[in-house]
Amino acid sequence: MPAGVFKETYLELMGFLRYPIHRYSALLAAALLAALPMLADQFLVTKLAFYMVFLVAVIGLNITVGLAGQISLAHAALMGAGAYMAAWLTLHGVNILLALPVAALTAAAVGTLLSLPSFRLKGYYLAMASIAAQELLFYVYQRWVAPDQYMPVNPDAKMLLGLDLSRGPGLYYATLLVTVLAAWTAANIGRSGLGRAMKAVRDNDVSAEIVGINVTRVKALAFAVGSFYAGLAGGLLALHLSAIDYDNFTLEQSIDFLAMVLVGGAGRVVWGSMLGLAAIMAGQSMLEMMFQGNPVYRYLLLGAAIAFFVVKEPEGLIAVLRRVKEYLRLWPFSY
């Protein structure tokens, strides 16, 4: 704690912006994000907005895996539920902004249904059950939901008061708004009663049950909330793309999401997810540049890097960042 800063209430102590540097940083970040479309070219802005879609999905998985300890390898498929629902609604004339919450709720419902095995299964067995769910949903998308391989999204449903939300500043600000709200809510879940119950279940579900936590309910809620985020990300994907292809929702994508959570920091739903997303996406981009046309090396190297990282730094990049921050805080002294 910096010298001269005193917290007199619990609310102050638990606040997100506890110290002056937090407030200045937040203000600077907000100004930068708000002004970005004026400062950067359209490609960078669109790209950043596209990463935000995946950030929302990773935050959701971080709630399910990181906070509640329920492993899920069906997150991409759940994102698909939201994306297809949003696309389908737009084809029926519903504005994308209205379709977003419906998409999220649809994925939450599907996720809750898929959480049923978690009441009886743990660890590897739960992972296997979630893989089965992923493949089942993927098959449904292939065969029945999008038999043409893709479902178009109605571009007219992406207009709001004459502003095109599917590109340029409209797309950026719409995505930014949803992402900030999603991140803020997720950060609050972590310190709410539900968040603490999730952590208790994650750390020891028997102990949690003994102290009166309804473990079944908490597990179901963890899946529901995580899936809600996946559906929200799916809806945002429908905002970004002109058609939804089932190749967006493969097992490979689910594994990537899980890798982002583990590499970034499971349980640190916002910062951990951001770091994990940046690390994995950057790793993929760099390997793509190095091995264009040869995905095998890309998979091998990225897989090896993730495995190495998870073994050497199980708490994720957030722990590395914390150590660096601590070092810089004490510098030039060693303690």
């Binding site: 391989q149 178009p152 793309l241 002109s242 190749d247 046309g293």
Partner: protein
């Protein structure tokens, strides 16, 4: 002090590398090989702009690593040879301004989500006026977007659904019209025959002509049965598909996948003793087929092709001459110039034709819209021809079906025999696909 500075420097470097990698996205731009400024080798059209030059950016979406890379790699060679050839030879607008094409190549691995990502990069980062694209699912799903963004899109997919899209073009009949020609040929060979349709039931490309095939078969009194054959098949999957097909005792097989999958199916048919003639979609059969099938498929394997292949055409005939010149310029031997190479070459040539029909001012100000209108000027005006490779092609607004005839190519054990060209009649095959798909 020194250690702290090192850590701070390391953090800065990591942040910069991560940010650069994230924002670079699909990789560093791969632009056309640097061209030396040359004097025009041919006289440009008369006009006040003669002597000036301009550059345009073109997106080039390819599959070098995905399930259709079996045909994609050769296609890329042909297209890149064409970019080099036309850039060096000189591309001139109708008012005599020389145009240099910078192309940006991206391998999307036949994954439509990656195609969408690269499309955004082409549009927002490179401001392309045209895209030379690849697969069916990605081209179809991007078609409305390209129309809104007014970007000309010349694809290697000949899906019937693209015929009615305003900014999509290709120098061939659509898959449905080609498949209808194959069905008409089958009906000529054996009236009342049974045809087993082997295609991947989950892939847009493979499924594309199926409604038209069924409509044509019904019209001509042929019986059809559906069999699932994965696009990325292995021998076991191909044998399973052939066993399934054998239940209906077919006289003909239609293979709707690419050459890797179709050649495996032909091998399986030979192994299991199925006495039926396989006709493959245009991407399912080429010069490599007998070798890839590695079985006795003489007289029992063939494919649809809207054009005479370079291996059987006169290399000095118009169109083929340019093709072989381009290949030579790019360092390829004549025997390396195959159907796929030619398809890549043709798509770029069609783009060049569009440029040649527009003015520099139009190209500068209206980009893809000007190119689209240039190609559509063939509807009422002078038709477009890619030498003798294609017949006269006319693209009309709302109907980008340039011609309707196709050859049926059969491997007779020693050489490829071209039957036709056949123009399917009696069924509107594009309409059948649009209504049935």
């Amino acid at each position: 002090m020194q250690r702290g500075a090192l850590i701070a420097a390391a953090i800065v470097v990591i942040v910069v590398v991560v940010a650069a990698a994230l924002l670079m996205g699909g990789g560093a731009p791969q632009q056309a090989p640097a061209q030396e400024t040359q004097q025009p080798q041919q006289a440009p059209a008369a006009g006040g702009e003669a002597g000036k030059t301009m550059e345009i950016n073109v997106g080039f979406l390819v599959d070098l690593s995905g399930p259709t890379s079996d045909v994609g790699k050769e296609y890329v060679k042909g297209a890149e040879a064409a970019f080099k050839y036309f850039n060096e030879k000189g591309i001139y607008t109708s008012d005599g301004v020389r145009v240099k094409i910078n192309y940006i190549k991206r391998d999307y691995g036949y994954k439509p989500p990656k195609a969408a990502e690269f499309y955004q990069e082409f549009r927002d980062r490179y401001h392309v006026v045209a895209i030379v694209g690849w697969g069916t699912a990605d081209t179809e799903s991007l078609s409305d977007q390209t129309a809104r963004d007014k970007i000309l899109y010349i694809s290697a997919s000949y899906s019937a659904k693209l015929v009615v899209k305003p900014y999509n073009f290709f120098p061939a009949p659509d898959y449905s019209t080609q498949a209808c020609a194959a069905v008409a040929w089958m009906a000529q060979q054996k009236p009342g025959a049974t045809v087993a349709l082997l295609y991947d039931h989950k892939v847009a490309y493979s499924k594309s002509p199926i409604p038209a095939i069924k409509a044509m078969a019904e019209k001509l009194g042929l019986k059809v049965v559906d069999v699932d054959l994965p696009l990325k098949a292995d021998e076991a999957a191909a044998e399973a598909a052939i066993r399934e097909a054998m239940k209906s005792n077919p006289d003909f097989l239609w293979c709707g996948n690419t050459i890797g999958s179709c050649s495996l199916a032909a091998r399986a048919a030979a192994k299991l003793g199925l006495d039926a003639v396989m006709i493959a979609n245009v991407w399912g059969f080429d010069e490599r087929f007998p070798k890839l099938a590695a079985a006795d498929v003489a007289g029992r394997a063939g494919g649809v092709s809207p054009w005479k292949w370079p291996s059987v055409a006169d290399p000095n005939a118009p169109g083929y001459r340019e093709l072989f010149e381009a290949a030579k310029m790019a360092g390829y031997k004549p025997e390396e110039v195959n159907l796929r190479f030619m398809q890549g070459f043709m798509n770029v040539w069609l783009l060049v034709k569009a440029i040649e029909r527009t003015t520099a001012k139009d190209l500068q100000e209206r980009g893809g819209e000007a190119l689209k209108e240039a190609l559509e000027s063939s509807c009422q005006g002078e038709p477009i021809k890619l030498g003798d490779i294609t017949p006269e092609m006319r693209y009309c607004p709302g109907n980008h079906l340039p011609f309707k005839s196709s050859y049926i190519v059969i491997w007779d054990g020693e050489k490829f025999v071209f039957h036709g060209p056949i123009t399917p009649e009696g069924v509107d095959c594009v309409k059948a696909t649009l209504e049935g798909g």
